[in-house]
């Protein structure tokens, strides 16, 4: 191997690739970054078997095609500290190819290689594209759903650790739930070639989101392979393992017969909830909302033996059309309000036993909030 390339290209590639660098000590080869030289292209590849990143950069190749694996962590540290110079060169050093010389300006690194034959097989990009999404919208969708999942360490019910992505009717629906509340966001898709549904772990999606934000393309193409989704844009492919698990039937839990609409100023409600949560019982965080037909306000209160009590009135846009007293876990409402952007939101309720639904409302809905919806089950104290 012997090539020269633009420093910025390589730094960029190594940075993206580092998102899928393995860290498990039991499979040291996964800490490697694989480099394939093919004519005048360098392909960088990393995987931790849950996700993979592949990207291509142009190089000036001075020898034949070759593959080496280098320590990825070392390489990304080097990439972050390279001296001022436009170019960088890599050259196999020892006769048996067990080391690579990396040169940039006056800096010279001698890097040992890892055994190529140990590196896992690289899944090829499947032939058919199933959809194209707008990166910005996809990003907002992830932001407004990932928070409602559980961490992989918190559950063995894998469906609750992921965001379900439903590609259908020219839109992508993203849904997540922890079993008690659910976040849903629908974005318009640039194109849906094949209707389908996938469940991907939230941690992987967070990394995908980061990678996409660095690339800065407007759209991302999605391909489907066996148990994996391939997100491709600007010469970079992010491969995400899908969860082979059925996602709960979310349509069924979205309440449809809401009789009571409470329109709040979002930030006013948020800060009230944050205050009232202080005196709620620590683990449950239960707060009570009380609306009557007498005033255009909702009273929110909480109490616990050791912390005391608090109550506050929050204005609603109109006098409620019915009375209700309902209890929620404050944290669940706060989570959702924090991730919305609109000035006004409406909390839809029917009875104290039925789910509440939050959606942005008012004359102008912030574009970032389009297609967003949140469902939360109430808490019951006694009958």
């Amino acid at each position: 191997m012997d090539f020269v390339c633009m420093k910025d290209d390589l730094v960029f590639g190594v940075k993206l690739a580092s998102y899928a660098l393995g860290t498990r000590s039991s499979m040291p080869i996964l800490s490697g970054l694989r480099m394939d030289i093919e004519q005048n292209r360098l392909r960088l590849y990393t995987t931790d078997l849950e996700r993979a990143v592949r990207c291509e950069i142009p190089v000036d190749n001075r020898a034949g095609d070759e593959t080496v694996v280098l320590n990825g962590a070392v390489l990304s540290q080097i990439a972050a500290h390279l001296p001022e110079d436009d170019r960088i060169s890599l050259k196999t050093d020892a006769a048996d190819g067990t080391a690579v010389k990396l040169r940039c300006g006056e800096a010279l690194f001698d890097l040992p290689t890892l055994p190529v034959e140990d590196y896992p097989e690289i899944a090829a990009l499947p032939p058919t594209r199933i959809a194209t999404l707008n990166v910005d919208q996809f990003h907002h969708g992830l932001e407004q759903t990932i928070f409602a999942t559980l961490k992989a360490s918190e559950t063995t019910r894998l469906a609750l650790t992921g965001v379900d992505i439903v590609l259908k009717n020219n839109s992508a629906k993203m849904v997540s739930t922890n079993g008690y509340r659910l976040a849903l966001k629908t974005i318009a898709a640039a194109e849906i070639v094949e209707e389908n549904e996938f469940l991907i772990e939230a941690g992987i999606l967070t990394d995908l989101d980061r990678v996409l934000s660095q690339i800065g393309s407007a759209t991302v193409d999605i391909y489907q392979g066996s148990g994996q989704l391939f997100f491709q844009t600007g010469g970079v492919t992010f491969v995400a393992k899908t969860i082979a698990e059925e996602f709960p039937d979310f349509d069924q839990v979205i309440p449809k017969e809401n009789t009571l609409a409470l329109a709040f100023d979002r930030l006013a409600l948020l800060s009230t909830l944050q205050r009232i949560e202080i005196t709620a019982a620590k683990e449950s965080g239960a707060i009570t909302l009380r609306a009557t037909q007498e005033e255009s306000a909702v009273r929110i209160n909480s109490s616990s033996k050791d912390k005391g009590e608090a109550e506050e009135r929050v204005r609603v846009k109109a006098v409620p059309t019915g009375a209700i007293e309902i209890v929620f876990k404050a944290g669940y409402l706060i989570d959702a309000l924090k991730r919305m952007n609109s000035a006004e939101i409406t909390l839809w309720l029917s009875t104290a036993q039925k789910a509440g639904l939050i959606e942005p409302s008012g004359g102008v809905i912030d574009p970032l909030d389009e297609g967003v919806l949140y469902v939360c089950m109430p808490v019951r104290i006694s009958d």
């Binding site: 860290t23 498990r24 000590s25 039991s26 499979m27 996964l30 078997l49 559980l150 360490s153 918190e154 559950t155 063995t156 019910r157 894998l158 469906a159 609750l160 739930t177 922890n178 079993g179 008690y180 509340r181 659910l182 066996s226 148990g227 969860i243 082979a244 698990e245 059925e246 709960p248 039937d249 349509d251 069924q252 839990v253 019982a281 620590k282 683990e283 449950s284 239960a286 033996k305 050791d306 209890v327 876990k329 036993q353 789910a355 469902v375 089950m377 109430p378 808490v379 019951r380 104290i381 006694s382």
Partner: protein
């Protein structure tokens, strides 16, 4: 004509009970009939998750007009004649009940042409009223169409899941049967969507590939064993191919897919130490043994069997599994790290020395503390976690080692008990009620204990046939409980309720103890420093922080004096 009515005496000897619970149960029975009829290919069409239509077409033996007339009647079967036949059942069906039960709750149409005959006939039945047979047209084989299941039982119909849920169950039935019969071709359509096209496969591995994907099939490891007349064959997953539940585990006894706790347990034990808890292997395991060594007449849904000599089955299976799991160089790419992160059996500290690198623990703790901005509320400062299981705490008097699981359990126990005593256990409602299935006797016990459970914050709806829906759960435990699943917990509660009579007044507390234990942080769970500190702070606010209700110690203290003595500072 091959079908006849069973005499009453024999009919009574057959495990009876409700079998048609949902579209999937109807689909299972009809598919079993098609397989019993030696079909080569079977096509299934569903509409609306099977709620509106389940249609199964086969190319099997078929029925003549007399058979057609009889097949929808109770206790009418071609599969057994006399009582002795029950000891050696080679077919999937034998109760002669299924078509009758389906016909009682749906609109059924059956068209069949016997192999070797020119004539096809049709019968229809609506809520049990049979019409026909009348001449019809069809290639040899049978078509069974079931429309509008439970149309005459609106209460049952209402309890059915969404089309998607019901479809999911049918899909699972199809998977299980098709894995049991690789040589039979299956197609499955849901509405316009072709969901499965599995042509006749040459062997089990090819069929697994059709169902789970070629990639998965390629990774699987074959098992094979013959021991004392018991033959075990099949495929199991390597450690890096795992599932989050047992759904992809199939045991197939003489061609019959069944569920069996002992077998599941043997499988789980074989993977112990290979998979972390909560991860399950994928397995398709066939067990073939003489027909009289296994009783299939134990469960109305024919999903369970009883082995004459379970010990021999156990031995054969254990040997088969241990051979493949130990002989091969089985190393999991995910495992190494997982097991480092969460050791299941932390090494017990050697008695004479302190097995801690204190300096390292302290400095790591501080660095993390900086990063996480951990607030210390009490005079107890958590330094870090040992083996993912114990918290190391600095106190003015010396230091303490806290068992994180028991500590958390005790906190939850005290808080829930306090709510319980005031009769105000706060319950979080579930977004989607969780389905819990219990054997008949357990179900009865649970129904009887309903009130006790409500007092501790568990609201279950009975749904019939051993099925319950869990709708509400104590909010104190809600997020913790998600981790380990509700089914096992409810089973444990049932066993407590069984003993409940004697300790009536303490039943609530004892239920709470189980709930708290199930929801508490486990040994081996890595916690961020913030949470470690929070746990210790909380522990200090409860009444009995030092011992748990079962008398196990929570905190182990080493005084400064003790430390000084050990380091010979005095």
């Amino acid at each position: 004509m091959k079908i006849h009515r069973l005499d009453e005496g024999l009919a009574r000897k057959i495990a009876a009970g409700e079998v048609i619970e949902r579209p999937a149960s109807a689909a299972k029975e009809i598919l079993e009939n098609a397989l019993d009829a030696k079909s080569e290919t079977i096509a299934i069409d569903l509409i609306d998750g099977g709620r509106s239509l389940i249609a199964v077409r086969d190319d099997g033996e078929g029925m003549d007009s007399g058979d057609l007339r009889l097949c929808v009647e109770k206790h009418a079967t071609s599969k057994i004649v006399q009582e002795a036949d029950l000891d050696a059942i080679a077919t999937l069906g034998f109760r002669g009940e299924a078509l009758a039960s389906i016909a009682a709750v749906a609109q059924v149409r059956i068209i069949s042409r016997e192999r070797g005959s020119d004539a096809a006939y049709r019968v229809t039945s609506e809520a049990g009223t049979v019409e026909g047979p009348v001449p019809a047209a069809r290639a040899p084989g049978t078509t069974v169409e079931v429309r509008d299941l439970f149309f005459n039982l609106p209460a049952r119909a209402r309890f059915l899941g969404s089309a998607r849920t019901e479809f999911f169950h049918i899909n699972r039935v199809v998977h299980r049967l098709s894995l049991s019969y690789p040589a039979v071709g299956f197609t499955l359509k849901h509405g316009e969507r072709a969901v499965l096209a599995a042509p006749r496969a040459a062997n089990l591995l090819d069929r697994i590939g059709q169902i789970y994907g070629a990639e998965t099939a390629r990774m699987l490891m074959p098992i094979e064993e013959e021991l004392g007349g018991i033959r075990i064959t099949g495929y199991v997953s390597p450690p890096d191919l795992k599932r989050g539940n047992r759904r992809d585990q199939l045991f197939c006894i003489n061609g019959r897919p069944i569920s069996d706790r002992t077998l599941s347990y043997i499988l789980a034990s074989a993977y112990q130490g290979i998979l972390r808890s909560g991860a399950y292997p994928l397995a398709v395991i066939r067990i073939d043994l003489p027909l009289d060594a296994v009783d299939v007449n134990v469960h109305p849904r024919k999903e369970e069997v009883r082995f004459a000599e379970i010990q021999r089955v156990r031995d054969a299976l254990t040997t088969a599994l241990s051979r493949v799991l130990s002989s091969r160089h089985v190393v999991s790419p995910f495992l190494g790290q997982r097991s480092e992160e969460r050791p299941n059996h932390p090494l017990a500290p050697a008695p004479s020395s302190l097995p801690l690198d204190l300096r390292q623990a302290v400095s790591v703790g501080q660095a993390e503390r900086e990063r996480e901005k951990v607030r210390v509320e009490s005079d107890r400062r958590v330094i870090g976690q040992l083996h993912g299981t114990y918290l190391l705490v600095e106190t003015p008097e010396g230091f303490e080692i806290v068992d994180q699981h028991i500590a958390h359990e005790q906190i939850l126990y005290e808080k829930l008990t306090a709510e319980f005593r005031h009769g105000e256990v706060a319950r979080q409602q579930l977004l989607l009620p969780i389905r819990i299935e219990l054997p008949f006797e357990s179900a009865e016990i649970l129904i009887a204990g309903k009130e006790e459970l409500e007092k501790v914050g568990i609201i279950l709806d009975e749904f019939g046939g051993g099925t319950f829906l869990l709708r509400e759960y104590p909010i104190l435990l809600a997020e913790g409980q998600i981790q380990y699943g509700f089914q096992a917990l409810i089973e444990k509660i049932v066993s407590q309720l069984t003993r409940g009579e004697k300790v009536k007044e303490r039943l609530g507390e004892s239920l709470i103890a189980s709930l708290a234990c199930a929801a508490a942080i486990k040994a081996g769970d890595r916690l961020p420093l913030q949470e470690q500190q929070r746990l210790v702070d909380q522990l200090m606010t409860i009444e009995a922080p030092y011992t748990c209700p079962h008398g196990r110690p929570i905190i182990f203290t080493i005084s400064q004096d003790e430390l000084a003595r050990r380091f010979k500072r005095t």
